[in-house]
């Protein structure tokens, strides 16, 4: 009988400590859907990359190659990460 009570109590405690998996599912899905909805084709990605490079190169002399250019997950957010190597300040820059 004592064993039975102990078992009951252990069952209750294990339930209390259980993860609410629906929250995990909800959070994972939220990010997956953002990613899915972006729906950027590789062509559009290349186009965006080119335009960003053009804008930056109006102000600075930059390397032709991006060090980094990708959309990725940062904790709870989806972020566009872009790193371009700066060579020297452009003489023609307006500032």
């Amino acid at each position: 009988m004592l064993d039975f009570l102990r078992w009951l109590i252990s069952q209750r405690d294990s339930n209390k400590n259980q993860e609410r998996t629906k929250d995990t599912a909800h959070n994972r899905l939220r990010l997956v859907l953002i990613q899915d909805r972006l729906d950027l084709s590789p062509e559009l990605m290349t186009e965006m990359k080119r335009e960003i490079w053009e804008v930056v190169s109006r102000y600075m002399v930059v390397d032709d190659e991006f060090i980094e250019f990708e959309i990725r997950r940062l904790d709870e957010l989806m972020v566009l990460v872009s790193n371009i190597q700066v060579k020297e300040l452009n003489q023609l820059a307006p500032v």
């Binding site: 009951l8 209750r12 339930n15 209390k16 998996t21 629906k22 599912a25 899905l29 997956v32 909805r37």
Partner: protein, 272 residues
């Protein structure tokens, strides 16, 4: 008469499109409407078995489209005396033998004679989906409260929008009230938060959906069953009635109440 053509779709397979089509169609017919349900899943027909009409098939959708038979020769009347007809899919052909324009034309013709034209859409987003969507004026989306099904539903919402089918209505199928209570299944709010669509109905998981399918009598005939009454309310909403959503509730049995007292999850539930 100008009827409404509605496609029932989901993206992911096995979430209950055919069951939903059979039950909404039957529910609308029980309300006194003239209804035709079309199985557009060519090559993988199933609406006939769910409705218990598989032994009456002579002609099918492809026969109608190819002009092999007259439209009314391919329409099988439901067993229960309602104004409910089924146009079955062809079983030995593939999706490419129907074009969107042909299905649209057929539905336009049916709309003159029926109040509701319901299309059971194949799973996936390929040709069969495109055909059905092109012919529809409204869309009903079926999902289960699972990650894969919800993700595919989101994808389909995007594709429906692109085909000018705005604001599809969502049916959340196979809700397990015990799991929702325990926080282990996403509920209506979670899913609406993700998909941002209006909810047409909530259907609990119910053994009687399966026994009804075994018999070939849609569960909506069993008004006392949890799933049957849920589908009846859905049919009423499709019909324009303002029926408040009823949350699928956990109803504890004596045993699970005892288990609840001592803190063990009960597994018995029913629907309110």
């Amino acid at each position: 008469m100008t009827g409404k053509t509605i496609v029932i779709t989901s993206g992911k397979g096995g979430v209950g499109k055919t069951t939903a089509t059979a039950n909404i169609g039957t529910g609308l017919a029980m309300r006194g409407h003239r209804v035709v349900v079309i199985d557009t899943d060519i090559g993988l027909r199933n609406l006939d078995v769910i409705m218990g009409l598989e032994n009456r098939i002579v002609y099918d959708l492809v026969n109608v489209i190819e002009g092999v038979c007259k439209l009314n020769q391919a329409m099988i009347r439901d067993k229960n005396g309602h104004e409910l007809y089924l146009i079955p899919a062809a079983q030995t052909r593939d999706k490419s033998c129907v074009e969107p324009g042909q299905l649209r034309e057929l539905c336009a013709k049916l709309e003159e004679e029926f109040d509701y034209v319901l299309m059971d859409c194949p799973a996936g987003i390929e040709q069969g989906f495109k055909n059905a969507v092109a012919a529809a004026k409204e869309a009903i989306l079926v999902t289960t409260p699972e990650v894969s099904s919800i993700r595919d539903a989101d994808r389909v919402i995007g594709l429906l929008e692109a085909s000018e089918l705005h604001r599809p209505k969502l049916i959340i199928n196979r809700i397990n009230p015990g799991m929702v209570r325990d926080g282990n299944m996403m509920d209506r709010r979670d899913i609406v938060d993700l998909l941002a669509v209006d909810v047409l109905g909530l259907v609990p998981v119910d053994d009687r959906t399966i026994t009804a399918a075994n018999r070939g009598v849609p569960v909506v005939h069993d008004k006392k069953s949890a799933a049957g009454s849920a589908f009846l309310r859905i049919a009423a909403r499709v019909d324009g009635d303002e029926v408040p959503l009823m949350e699928v509730e956990y109803k504890s049995s004596l045993m699970s109440r005892f288990k609840g007292l001592v803190g063990i999850n009960g597994s018995a539930y029913s629907h309110a």
